[in-house]
């Protein structure tokens, strides 16, 4: 399971139902990467994380959350 989760999907809908394509254009990445981010299949670089946060006028920690893995 990824340690870093995000609320990109929710934030997109909160921002006039922004499409994945629109967000991808704003943050200079591909739509496929946005899909992978929303599905938790990609942990972005710091630069991309900042670009995404700024696209929503949020702080990075408002978009991305770090979950401490539970040790068994």
């Amino acid at each position: 399971m990824p340690e870093i989760t995000n609320g990109i999907r929710r934030l997109r809908f909160d921002h006039d139902e922004m499409t994945q394509e629109e967000l991808a254009l704003r943050v200079a990445c591909t739509r496929q990467t946005i899909i992978a981010l929303e599905a938790g299949k990609y942990t972005p670089s710091l630069a991309l994380a900042f670009r995404i946060a700024r696209a929503f006028n949020k702080r990075v920690e408002d978009v991305f959350q770090y979950e401490v893995p539970i040790k068994e």
């Binding site: 200079a28 591909t30 990467t33 299949k41 990609y42 942990t43 670089s45 710091l46």
Partner: protein
């Protein structure tokens, strides 16, 4: 499916064609003529025409870099095993001290095929898996 995945599929198909073609021709025409099957390798050159306008982003570059590394490792391993395996078979079993000259070309092509095949498969696998950016 993006351009990198399309190129990867082309790689899988052409490299598989090389191997299948070689083993089809081998019993029919012998090891020298069978190397003609490696001509399929050239088709992979058309991969450069796929998605020329598509600009890769950080995830694409990350996946391509990891897949290239996996391909290089597998290729190196295949080449070493091919060289040492040939020497072992020829010397240990046939008690000969000379290796047939055509073997080197075949082993070199084996290394190249293993590189592109592994790289292509790794790309297809990594696009379906969780990947972390280098500085994530």
């Amino acid at each position: 499916m993006n351009a990198e995945q399309k190129r990867a599929w082309l790689g899988v198909v052409t490299m598989s064609a090389c191997v299948v073609g070689y083993f089809v021709l081998l019993p029919l025409f012998g090891p020298i003529v069978a190397t003609a099957a490696f001509a399929f390798y050239g088709i992979n050159g058309f991969a450069g025409l796929i998605g020329r306008k598509e600009k890769p982003d950080e995830r694409d570059k990350n996946i391509a870099r990891r897949a290239t590394l996996a391909g290089a490792m597998a290729s190196y391993l295949a080449f070493i095993i091919g060289c040492m395996g040939t020497w072992f078979v020829v010397f240990a079993f046939k008690r000969e001290e000379q290796v047939w000259v055509h073997v080197l070309g075949t082993i070199t092509m084996l290394g190249a095929i293993v590189f592109f095949f592994t790289r292509s498969v790794a790309i297809l696998v990594l696009y379906g898996r969780h990947v972390e950016a280098d500085n994530a």
